[in-house]
Amino acid sequence: MTTTSIGHGLVTDQEPDLEVTGRRSRSRRSAGVWIGRIAVAVIAIGGWQWLTTIGVVDKFFFGQPTGVWDSLVHLFTQGTAFGTIWENLGTTIEEAALGFVLGTVAGVVVGILLGSNDFLSLVFGPYIKVVNSIPRIVLGSIFIVAFGLGVFPKVLLAAVLVFFIVFFNAFQGVREVDQNVVANVRVLGASPLQVARHVTIPSAMTWIIASLHTAFGFAIIGALVAEVLGAQHGIGLIISQAQGSFDPDTVFACMVITAVVTLGAEYLIGLLERSILKWRPPNRSEAQAI
């Protein structure tokens, strides 16, 4: 009796201590991480500024952080020759978003169709490999020539880039479906359509959602490249004009703007991922050993 109570007392005494130590070491570590991150940014941007100021790197070609900032301010206050920055940004986002949706839907549908049908996958397999190995970005030129300078060819190029990423993931996702689960619902009397609805599609969803992170980046690239090739509005047009007038600062400013947009989209996709894939076990690395 006495030994157990002593033992118990020891444990309760130590428990909060252990927690406090654990929490302290975690906060120390996260402070260290943040100091490291800030140091990297200061060294990279500061180094760039310093090297261009002292003339080791020519700011005529490579721009300068302060120049990029000025040019950002200019873009947002003065606008551009083709309307305000908001109009141009809106155009680019519209093209990328439409292309993203179109490419994703097509990729998911074709991926699941080919993944679950051996005949179709054998027939189309080699062609898809061929199309995948050609540099699809060049299709942008064809689309501009064929469909003009409007929004449509940009949407199309973004969609083509997105399609292949989503398609391969959806296809693989269908292939990775647990055959035990399929056998189980088939025995319970599921029709092929019910197998797709209850097993194949939800199971492939993990792969599809994972591909969306990369896919949105490619949608932006598709829209920008098509705009550089020929457009009336858009960030890509600003970039190509800045290139023509030897203005690297504006090119970098446009990169910053695009990066912010992509990060925002990434955040939204992350939210979608968390709500659709809430059934997944939490990542083990999220819990930290003390």
């Binding site: 647990d178 035990n180 689960v181 056998a183 189980n184 025995v187 319970l188 009397g189 939800p202 997944r280």
Partner: protein
């Protein structure tokens, strides 16, 4: 946990069916183009409502035999009939339980169980009520909204058991269902399975490696030879029913006698299969 008696007697939708496997041979074509005979001339009968265990060494075609009964595969020769109908396509009124959980990881416990009635065309509300009732019967009331990964191995087995029994199957096919569980959990699950089986009395084909498990649970134990698989011996288990706690029955005299008899038949096969896989000439 183990005490959850049924509040209502289940109304059997269809009566348990007789399973007749007659001279079934199943061959597969390997990727190299050779034929591989998994089972050869297997003949066995399971009477309606009988609990039949199939025991045999690894790779003797036990699972292949089950696949023929379920209609997931078709025999290369011979025939399988369930009730008085020849199996041709998926057999109706069958439930399957696998060693690996065949649960949907993206569905909650409740949705995993109610999928059975839903696929039979039962309305959502009715299916939900039925599923809740079954979860209570397997002792998982209160876990309806969890996802499978949040449950222990034994709890996942209970979900699978509820999902397999909710449709009140004529035939229950179990492919080493408790193979991956620890010894204690396994004993508890066996006892619970027997209780549920006593209520519904479907015909059961139960595959296992574990001879104790086979003797404790079944009315009949079929020993299969190693590849190509065929039936070597059939033993009737005359232990009285209901058997109660599976842990305790293991110490009874009759149990040990039967277990000894069957083991002497199985031993040769196991040795032969082991020798074949480890490369020693048998």
């Amino acid at each position: 946990m183990t005490d959850h008696r049924p509040s209502r007697a289940p109304v059997p939708r269809e009566k348990a069916a007789k399973i007749s496997v007659t001279g079934v041979t199943k061959r597969y074509l390997t990727p190299k183009g050779e034929t591989f005979t998994a089972i050869q001339n297997v003949t066995l009968d399971v009477e309606p409502g009988q609990f039949c265990a199939i025991v045999g060494p690894t790779g003797c075609g036990k699972s292949t035999t089950l696949a023929q009964v379920s209609g997931l595969e078709r025999p290369s020769a011979g025939s399988v009939s369930v009730g008085d109908r020849i199996v041709d396509g998926i057999t109706s009124g069958v439930s399957y339980m696998f060693q690996a959980d065949a649960l949907f990881p993206w569905k909650t416990v409740l949705d995993n169980v109610l999928i059975g009635p839903i696929l039979l065309g039962t309305g959502k509300r009715e299916a939900t009520a039925l599923a809740r009732d079954w979860l209570r019967r397997v002792g998982l009331a209160g876990f309806e909204d969890r996802f499978p990964h949040q449950l222990s191995g034994g709890m996942r087995k209970r979900v699978a058991m509820a999902a397999a029994l909710i449709n009140n199957p004529r035939i229950l096919l179990m492919d080493e269902p408790f193979g991956a569980l620890d010894v204690q959990t396994k004993a508890i699950m066996q006892t619970e399975l027997l209780q549920l089986w006593e209520e519904l009395r479907p015909s059961v084909l139960f595959i296992t490696h574990d001879l104790d498990e086979a003797v404790a649970l079944s009315d009949k134990v079929v020993i299969m030879t190693s590849s190509p698989g065929s039936v070597k011996n059939v033993f009737d288990i005359d232990l009285p029913r209901p058997r109660g706690d599976v842990q305790e029955i293991r110490h009874e005299k009759r149990f040990l006698e039967l277990q000894g008899q069957i083991w002497s038949s199985l031993k040769d096969e196991v040795t032969r299969a082991y020798a074949a896989t480890s490369g020693i000439a048998a």
